[in-house]
């Protein structure tokens, strides 16, 4: 992806002001409105009759993430996220960690998509200030807002409590202690829930480390190799036929694997 495309992307993830008339439809359905058929009586609908509507790849293929630069994060934010994910899944004798696997790029790109704006979720108010624990997600903040505000609050917290140092300046022990405090919610940031930030980064780190590498994380299928997940081979009849045998083939992703040559 070229740099100018990136600035386009940056503009794109700003919440869209243009609302589809009947929101909640997929991106695809909006594209498809161009191809709507008009019935004899004038009703606009996709009408299916007599023959299958074969339209190859109606389901939009994923655009592979090309690493390099940031579409959502500032360089400072990205450095902090890199430092956090590096503690959550560290590189060690078992193999690469989240940082090496490109998890920060994964998160950056996810935040520019529908996930980052909670575009598919029910985001109408009123928002309750004291939901029951059983009622799940009730915050009005989108993931983009959670990262932007949460990282700013973390940075302010570090400056105030670690003698002017930022998160990236802390040693591993300090980072881990702080992250544990955030996980439990014991650490109080100014104006933002430290736990909310932790939960967002934690969930996205696990997603990025174990999702298909097409999304920018799980580089070289590091996450899959760690546990022995063979990926998208889609046929394990041989495994079922050979119970209790170690699986020895390398993993395959939606784009194949390195051994299949450069793309």
């Amino acid at each position: 992806m070229q740099t100018d495309d990136r600035s386009l992307m940056r503009a794109k993830f700003a919440p869209s002001t243009e609302k589809p008339k009947h929101a909640g439809m997929s991106r695809r359905s909006l594209l498809a409105t161009a191809a709507l058929l008009i019935t004899t009586s004038g009703a606009t609908a996709k009408v299916v009759t007599k023959v299958l509507p074969w339209r190859p790849n109606e389901v939009y293929p994923v655009t592979p993430v090309v690493p390099g630069g940031w579409l959502f994060f500032t360089a400072d934010e990205a450095a902090v996220v890199d430092a956090i994910v590096d503690r959550l899944i560290p590189a060690d004798e078992l193999g690469p960690g989240a940082k090496e696997a490109g998890v920060t790029t994964f998160i950056d790109r996810q935040l520019t998509g529908p996930y980052g704006g909670h575009d598919w979720l029910y985001m109408q108010g009123p928002f309750s200030s004291n939901p029951l624990p059983t009622q799940g997600l009730q915050s009005p903040l989108t993931p983009r807002q959670q990262y932007r505000q949460g990282l700013a609050a973390l940075s302010a917290y570090c400056k105030a409590n670690f003698g002017g140092r930022g998160f990236t300046d802390l040693n591993n022990e300090e980072k881990e202690k702080l992250l544990s405090g955030m996980e439990k919610g014991d650490v109080k940031f100014e104006g933002f829930s430290s736990r909310m930030l932790f939960n967002a980064v934690y969930a996205n780190t696990m997603e990025g480390f174990f999702a298909d590498p097409i999304y920018g994380g799980n580089k070289d299928m590091a996450g899959w190799k760690l546990i022995g997940f063979p990926g998208v081979r889609y046929d394990f009849r041989d495994v079922i036929d050979n119970p209790n045998k170690p699986y020895t083939l390398p993993p395959v992703s939606m784009q194949g694997r390195q051994a299949w040559g450069e793309r």
Binding site: L121, T134, I227, F236, Y247
Partner: protein, 588 residues
Amino acid sequence: MARRLPRKDVAIVGLGWTGSIMALELARAGLEVVAIERGPWRDTATDFNIGTAPDELRYAVRHDIFLRPRQETLTMRNNSSQAALPIRRWGSFLPGNGVGGAGSHWNGQTWRFLPDDLRIRSHLTERYGAGFLPEGNQIQDWPMSYDELEPFYDKFEYVLGISGKAGNLKGEVQPGGNPFEGVRSREYPTPPMKQGYSQELFTKAASGMGLHPFPRPSANLSTAYTNPYGCSMAPCTYCGFCERFGCSNYSKSSPQTCVLPALVREPNFEARTECEVTKVNLSGDGKMAKSVTYIDANGEEWEQPADLVLLCAYGLFNVRLMLLSGIGKPYDFSSGEGVVGRNYAYQTGSGATAFFENVNFNPFAAAGSLGAALDDYNSDNFDHGPHGFVGGASITNAYTNGRPIMYRPTPRGTPTWGSAWKKAVRDTYQRVTNVGAQGSVMSYRANYLDLDPTYKDQLGRPLMRMTFDFQPNEIKMANWMAERCEEIAKAMGAKTTQLNRLTTPWNVVPYQSTHNTGGAVTGADPKTSAVNRYLQSWDVANVFVMGACTFPQNAGYNPTGTVGALTYWALDAIQNKYLKSPGALVQQ
């Protein structure tokens, strides 16, 4: 103002499992049928393409093909003293969207309920006395018997090509099958799936304990199969991207594989997709449906007149459409009167996790319905007298998937991150299995559906409100089941085990099951049921309601086998009774 379209014989709301079956059979009977579906058209080759289908992040985590809560969701609370809040992101259950409905991304575990399940109130009262039933219950007999439903269970299973082993053929118990099941008129259409190593251990251990394990009936087909509609399927490859995904192999029974290829060739059939039905319009006296109103992808409103309206929009959304359209008297919790929204029920989940040493379970070689099960503790197959609860569970050892964003088990007490976590994730992946109990949920006065007073959908119509919690009877039952699961796990040779009790109160965040039942239940008495024994509205005779919303309470099984049987049962009544003489099929 909605613009009026030319009349059709039948308007079907929703084109998932129930809608597609109804559409095919009624179009073949010569009726002009239109199905109106709020999501997009979906086909195997285009939408469940092997190049895009096995994508855990997109489908299982971000819910790409599910209904988007932005379009419609529900509000929830655990009891009527609380304020309900919207389910902003799906968790506990995952409604479908688009042609195929939840039937395109289900697991495919396809069960029949037991004969006793259908006359449960009478049965329990006869065996234990009325005083044995739990407090606040509204348990009801079904208005039809297992024997009446059997031919329709059979029909549904043969359309889907279900892979399994009969346990009771015409009254004769069959080795290798489920000896507790009701009488079957013939063997399953295809043989059972192959099982993995852990199911081998389960089957051996359970048999050794005197229990009766058998391969779980599956809509992931063991062999190639051509169904009575002429639709062909291929054998399952145990790909492990099954539930929450469409199948790329034409191996999972779904409307796409089993019904639509025949349906779209019917000249009397038309589907309008990306069109959301907002209301069923009634005649002045409220006794007949005249038409349905829907909104198309451009936001234009249309009125489709029809002689017969079939609600096939998934149980929960059928109930909401009934409430929004004034079909049947809404249930009022404070008085206990009214029927629409009454007897909402769900499913319990509990069990035991089993950690082994030096094994390769290969959890990724899996399928949505792969597994071995036993029914010794289901329904009333055992004496409940000493236990003080009613209901039961099917107990299963299974791998549905080993997809690593969501499936990374570690022993309790493992750190959640860092090098110690990393090591535990690596060391555990191959050597853990689960014995699970999927249990019944009875109906109670306190569990119900109604319209939310505060929250609206994007069209400004009230969301439906779900008031639900697991009651003491279900908690007791599920936790007793967890102990049975742990016994089996130990007998399988697990090095250590962990008991998984039922999580209470009911929490909307962790996925549990898309087995939402009740709300428009079938019954013999219009005071306690919304539809009669043919799933016809008591109040509006040309409206029939399909789906698990018609279950008077839920049994210890997945619902769709029974949903399918009821669909063919209602279809039979429509074809052979209603069309000959339209009107109420059961007199009040």
